[in-house]
Symmetry: C2
């Protein structure tokens, strides 16, 4: 019942008995017990349906906090969240996962106790910790498995490391899976079959099937970065030619931008390169907004290549929604337009008739919110909230 | 409980209480009731686990029959099946779906009563009818939706037409979905996440996710025939270039075979073409077995193109098994070898480490058995067996 209330974001008793297919009296009795234990509270008034006004049941926000951590390829985000996933405190910084687990884990071991202390939260009030990482994860044991963007992290146990600063249970998953969980929760599980694509340093995909996160037979589902979009394309670090990640993710965009700057095709990018000494994907977005045609072409090319790959996945998977997130998705509206155009051109009419392709709805907080969803879901599953 | 017994293919009471998470006494009481109603029977003796020897519970095979129908692009198969899906009688003939629903449906309206009469089965003993068709289906209403291989069938209600000869409920689904259901049943649902590819006149895919058939948001999941494998490839009837179906399915194989025959590269195929006036995919298989190098090359090319497309799906979906079925899969072992080679070359190690790619296990009867599974599953769901 707590699980149903968590996913609904708060609901009335009659909605709950419909969802759970429990009788009204069973629902009322269970809710009374949970209210008494302090696991639920009752807030506000919902619109009347004619009879007695139902109260909205929510997970008790005073029950404790969960910690959400989003380890990106180049960033580290951390949040303390209430059980309804409202943010108590948040911290973001740049970080480089390529340096191995040492620097990032020691930063986390300092940050977590400091954030708890600053916000007056006792360590024993932490219900659980959810952590997203930019690589394939063996979810059962919480270890990374040959992560290509994270040399030195293979078989490293993030879970054991974090246990030094909290006795709360720790759960680790791939960052894109957590983005999918974040969106699933935000949509109250109403969207049953969708994809979320993350375009950043790499390209990955979270898959939701029948309202549940789908991890695949060995946990690597959604690993779409090395799908071929051009058999004659450049050689990727995986050894094959024309992988979408090698041709359309942030490093490829930067490479095209440097080329446009140095060849004289883009005076704006040339100036930026001179001033900063290097270029980033966001510089291409800024140049495009300033009217730079070469930057427009780079963004369109990346979007078209991703759309071409996505067209195959849309034919195969027939999702109702595709959400596009990750750092590169902020590069400008032309990016999404190019993706949509390629998909509608290359996918079957039946698959795209009701398909919506939009930017991810949580303003780049999908990963962090998703880490919180993972933490809450697992805490409810293993019963650590009731201890 | 009947459903669990159906999917298990027969099981002991203690297995059933484990599967259903029912107490032993609840399981025994339910089983006794179903035995008394004649919906279950008890057969043989299973190996003892130390105590009293458990009897195997099965759906009562005298309960009635289901009718399975597999409408292929060029064939019509029909079977009367017992509730355990053993075949009572079977009929196969060539047929051409391109002629529209008239000829095939009138054939079915004749065949069904004749087969029932021949086998001494009363029409009221038919529990339900499952029908597979080679095109996209709106499962809820049992109608085809713009089927590219089936002109004239758009919005045709197979269900209403069949009702003229039986009052049993009729269920219609895409043929590849039924192949997936057939394999899922044969494996007692032990394989949770797999794909089944059908290569015949077209190329389609059935998807099983978390042990359930996945149809997609609008029922077109698995429609993989128009995934691009060569941006510079020939123009397909869908208007795009390089669709895998246009380059690797039976018509493309035949086209390559005719070209090899006419150009003199394959004396065997030239002789066959002269003798028959036309070539089929199986002729290429026979020529390959007779040592024809040109036929080997055609088979390898088709397999490599399909494997290239499949590599993308394996990266995305991370299935534990991929089954290859359909008419073209009988073309020879080189076909499967080429598929496997392309997939292992182009997919990520993590996705392929435990991946098995094999021919479909039901010797081309997946579609018919799957139609029977659909019929039984739906009959159990709507309770028509208990009437």
């Amino acid at each position: 019942m707590l699980n149903a209330i968590f996913w609904s974001g708060g609901c009335a008793r009659h909605e709950l008995s419909d969802t759970l297919e429990f009788s009204r009296s069973k629902t009322n009795a269970l809710a009374a017990g949970l209210l008494e234990q302090g696991l639920l509270d009752e807030v506000g008034l919902q619109l009347s349906r004619g009879g007695r006004r139902p109260e909205t049941l929510r997970i008790d926000s005073q029950m404790g906090v969960v910690i959400g951590v989003d380890i990106g390829a180049t960033s580290l985000d951390l949040a303390l969240l209430r059980p309804d996933l409202s943010v108590v405190a948040k911290h973001s910084q740049t970080a480089d996962v390529q340096l191995g687990p040492g620097p990032i884990m020691s930063r986390l071991r300092t940050l977590i106790p400091a954030m708890l202390a600053e916000n007056g939260i006792a360590p024993e009030d932490v219900l659980s910790v959810g952590i997203g990482v930019p690589g394939p994860v063996n979810f059962a044991v919480g270890q990374l498995v040959n992560p290509p963007l994270m040399p030195g992290w293979d078989s490293f146990s993030i879970r054991d490391d974090i246990r030094e600063v909290t006795s709360a249970p720790v759960f680790v998953d791939n960052d894109v899976n957590l983005m999918a969980l974040g969106v699933l929760w935000r949509q109250h599980r109403q969207i049953q079959d969708f994809l979320i694509i993350k375009v950043g340093t790499g390209i990955g995909c979270g898959i939701v099937c029948h309202g549940e996160l789908y991890r695949g037979a060995s946990g690597s589902a959604g690993d779409i970065g090395h799908i071929c979009v051009d058999p004659e394309g450049p050689v990727c670090r995986c050894g094959n030619r024309g992988c979408v990640e090698a041709m359309a993710a942030a490093p490829a965009i930067v490479e095209m931008a440097v080329e446009a700057a140095q060849s004289g095709r883009s005076p704006i990018l040339a100036e930026k390169l001179k001033a900063k000494g290097r270029l980033e994907a966001i510089d291409v977005g800024a140049a495009s907004r300033a009217g730079d045609a070469a930057s427009d072409a780079i963004i369109a090319r990346s979007g078209h290549l991703i759309g071409q790959m996505l067209a195959a996945l849309v034919n195969f998977y027939n999702p109702s929604h595709v959400f596009v997130g990750g750092g590169v998705s902020g590069i400008g509206p032309m990016f999404l337009a190019a993706i949509r155009q390629s998909v509608s051109q290359r996918s079957l009419a039946l698959s795209t008739r009701h398909l919506e392709i939009t930017y991810a709805p949580l303003r780049n907080e999908e990963g962090l919110i998703g880490a919180g969803v993972l933490a809450m879901r697992e805490a409810l599953r293993i019963g650590s909230v009731a201890v």
